[in-house]
Symmetry: C2
Subunit: 129 residues, 2 copies
């Protein structure tokens, strides 16, 4: 059985992952331009970061054309789940309900989304009746 790593992307790495999850496989330039919308950053900085991420096996690279094409080696949902687990413990001492209450209380969430959540609640409570 292969040793399962638990990748822990840094903040900058996560920004890059988000771009790639959203846009699909992309060149450094595309990622860099996307990041530049939110903050000042040098091209080679982005490049270096993505190269390091590839070394760490968080990204995979297609080097067949001159402009290498990167894509995430991590699934978005799995990664979110891991990050969430850590964050839950670190910030809310593991209390999921506290986290959920604060998340709902402090963000304008659409009625449709609230309904979706309510459905999930029904399913969860139904099972334990």
């Amino acid at each position: 059985m292969t040793l399962e790593k638990t990748p822990k992307p840094t903040e900058s790495e996560l920004e890059i992952l988000q771009v790639l999850w959203q846009q699909g496989p992309s060149t450094v330039r595309v990622v860099h331009e996307e990041l530049s919308k939110n903050k000042e950053v040098g091209y080679t900085t982005t490049l270096k970061l993505m190269q390091i991420m590839a070394e760490k096996e968080m990204l995979e690279v297609d080097k067949s054309s001159r402009s290498h094409i990167y894509h995430p080696a991590l699934e978005e949902e799995k990664t979110q789940q891991q990050l969430l687990g850590r964050f839950l413990d670190a910030a809310f001492r593991g209390s999921a309900s506290k986290l959920v209450m604060q998340a709902l209380g402090n963000s304008k969430t659409s009625k449709a989304e609230l309904d979706e959540i309510r459905n999930l609640l029904d399913k969860l409570e139904g099972g334990s009746k």
Copy 2:
């Protein structure tokens, strides 16, 4: 109007804050012993961290007795709110409902807690009925 900082405790700093939030004002020794339950760490390391946190004004210190007594300068809920906001953006691109669904789906939350959440949903949706 005073300039409002947005403190960004690191992981280690957050661990210390959690102890202080939970136990109330404490000496370095008490905090250190609490931390030691979960991981190996030297006493002076904890001391130094807490001193740095005091410099950053995340903690306040009562130096009137030999063993200084530290307490958080930050409110637990406010801090959680800020951390949650950042985390939400970084990990879930701002989608609170996605975060909530994953948090609920992947943690055993008691019926009482689920009901509490349902109540909140009622209140939130009630307004738009």
